[in-house]
């Protein structure tokens, strides 16, 4: 099973790194990586060493980068293969349903997570190179662990959700649109939903949360994300039907 998952990951990465010059994926993963690395340098360079304590670092490396990166590849995972007529041959191979699904999710997860980590390291170096830098600073252990964990779990969340969407989408482009809109609705819906609550309710929530330390809250959020990853992967496994994938 591990060898099978590994084979799928190998193929997916080979395809990511081959870029997109003749249709297929809507965006070239190599271009996206370049844009993200550049973007990850500019902001820390401007902020300077305050970068190591700002929540922006966590938001960019833990949420935004994984989201953009994973969406750019996972949407194509099933829908793109179906469009390019490679899916049926893959399904006619000896690979099990689990190996194909896990391989595709893992490939996107590792891709999103690895590039987010590179962007985090690049950001740390850029912050130290800013004009107002004073000695060499780096992320605190807690902060670094939070970035590593959240980028991993959020990459997994988008990959698992994306594979589900891609399985049901007639085209890679449509899968990408549905996924982008879905994630945006989830994030902004949460923010605006909170804003829409009565002031007293918001205060109550804030008071309830303030009883916990930041570490406890971070662990709680991480556990929720982990649970979501597991549930979405399981739903993907249950939904994976060779016959439907071919006929859809």
């Amino acid at each position: 099973m591990i060898a099978d998952v590994g084979a799928v990951i190998w193929k997916e990465w080979r395809e990511y790194l081959s870029g997109s010059t003749t249709g297929g994926r809507g965006r070239n993963p190599l271009v996206i990586i370049a844009v993200i690395v550049i973007f990850s340098l500019i902001t820390p360079f401007q902020i300077g060493q305050a970068w190591f304590t700002t929540p922006l670092a966590l938001l960019l490396s833990g949420l935004y980068f994984p989201m953009i990166l994973v969406i750019s590849v996972i949407a194509d995972s099933f829908a793109g293969e179906r469009e390019r007529h490679t899916l049926e041959t893959l399904l006619a191979s000896r690979l099990s349903d689990t190996a194909i699904l896990l391989g595709k999710i893992a490939a996107a997860l590792i891709y999103g997570w690895a590039v987010a980590m590179v962007a985090t390291l690049a950001g740390g170096l850029a912050a130290n190179l800013s004009r107002n830098a004073n000695g060499f600073h780096w992320y605190s252990t807690d902060f670094a662990v939070a970035i590593v964990c959240f980028s991993f779990l959020f990459s997994g969340f988008v990959a698992a959700a994306g594979s589900l969407v891609s399985m049901r989408s007639p085209s890679s482009r449509q899968a990408q649109q549905v996924l982008s809109i879905g994630i945006a609705v989830l994030i902004f819906g949460g923010v605006f939903g909170f804003q829409a609550l009565a002031a007293s309710t918001r205060l109550q929530i804030a008071q309830a949360l303030s009883q916990y330390s930041l570490t406890t809250l971070a662990i709680g959020i991480a556990l929720v994300l982990l649970l979501a990853d597991v549930i979405l992967t399981y739903v993907g496994y249950v939904s994976f039907q060779r016959t439907r994938l071919i006929l859809d």
Binding site: A7, R14, E15, T22, T86, T89, A92, R94, T243
Partner: protein
């Protein structure tokens, strides 16, 4: 009048060692019945041709045998395993070239084969050696690093066939394998398939509407139309069952009166004029000499006489016509 080979379910599923056995297999897509109570058995170690027009149900049959689709009714067994329950085990021992080449166009030929080598758990050394062997055989070794997306359809088809053969499967499904290949490459592939069957005992399940090809390489064929099996047997049996022997006669003086005289004979079923010669369909297997003697007596200057049987294509077309 064509007489299809007997096709009772018991007769067709008789071979005890059949590698593929299909029993009353039916598949419906909504109101459309793509396969209709089909029963037959394919013995191991042969090239079996599944012949039919576009949309007849050939691809659906391959999908059902590989458990990529579930039957609406009936059963299918491959390697003695029920397709519904043992899809993974069946796919593990098979290789398939389906409707499309299934190649990753942004990857090189070598990477496409490397991936499927990994899928079939070939060791690194085995993959290297087998990829080299196959790409060299198909004359593509020097271009192995090129993306296959830039290649012609025929070249892609060669890589796809190499992918099917990579892990030396016991059973190979080929859906229109020579489509897109030039005549030389198509002939070479037919030779390869024959060699594979003779030397390694591989069974090939081949769908095609190229009847000349089927006639050349298939030991047995099944002819289908709109999901129904019309005939099943060796090509020679099907040709024979399509109505006796034929004689073609070239010469001078093949007038309308001569044609009328021939039509009146009891040993001739039909006389047609084709371009510069006469085409006679004999009733059963009769000697040609009395016909030639009668023509000479009628003043015909005979230049050439050819005797033969209906081709598989003619048998196929007759079947199609009769089933309308």
């Amino acid at each position: 009048m064509i007489v299809p080979v007997p096709m009772s379910a018991s007769a067709l599923t008789r071979p005890a060692d059949a590698i593929i056995r299909v029993d009353q297999l039916t598949r419906e897509f909504g109101t459309v019945r793509a396969l209709d109570q089909m029963s037959f058995a394919v013995p191991p170690g042969i090239i079996f041709g599944f012949l039919g027009a576009n949309g007849a149900g050939k691809t659906t049959m391959i999908r059902l045998l590989l458990n990529l689709l579930e039957p609406s009714a009936g059963h299918a067994q491959v390697f003695g395993l029920e397709t519904r329950q043992h899809g993974n085990a069946i796919r593990e021992q098979s290789g398939a070239l389906l409707e499309f080449s299934g190649l990753y166009e942004r990857l090189s030929a070598e990477d496409n084969l490397e991936f499927y080598g990994r899928v079939w758990h070939l060791s690194s050394a085995q993959r290297k050696a087998r990829i080299r062997e196959l790409l060299t055989h198909f004359d593509l070794w020097d271009r192995r690093k090129e993306r296959v997306g830039t290649w012609s359809r025929g070249m892609k088809q060669k890589v796809a066939i190499a992918r099917v053969l990579l892990h030396r499967p016991k059973l190979i499904f080929l859906d229109e394998p020579t489509a897109g290949l030039d005549p030389v490459a198509a002939a070479a592939l037919r030779g390869d398939l024959r060699t594979l069957v003779q030397r390694e005992g591989v069974t090939v399940f081949l769908t095609t509407h190229n009847l000349t090809e089927a006639e050349q390489i298939c030991s047995q064929v099944g002819i289908i139309r709109m999901g129904k099996l019309l005939a099943f047997g060796a090509p020679a049996e099907l040709r024979a069952s399509s109505g006796g022997e034929r004689v073609e006669i070239w010469g001078t003086g093949l007038t309308a009166a001569v044609r009328t005289m021939l039509s009146a004979r009891s040993d001739i079923r039909a006389v047609t004029e084709q371009n510069d010669h006469l085409h006679l369909e004999l009733r059963d297997t009769h000697a040609v000499a009395p016909i030639v003697a009668a023509l000479v007596q009628a003043g015909v200057g005979i230049e050439e006489v050819r005797r033969g049987q209906a081709s598989l294509e003619e048998a196929f077309l007759t079947l199609m016509e009769e089933d309308k």
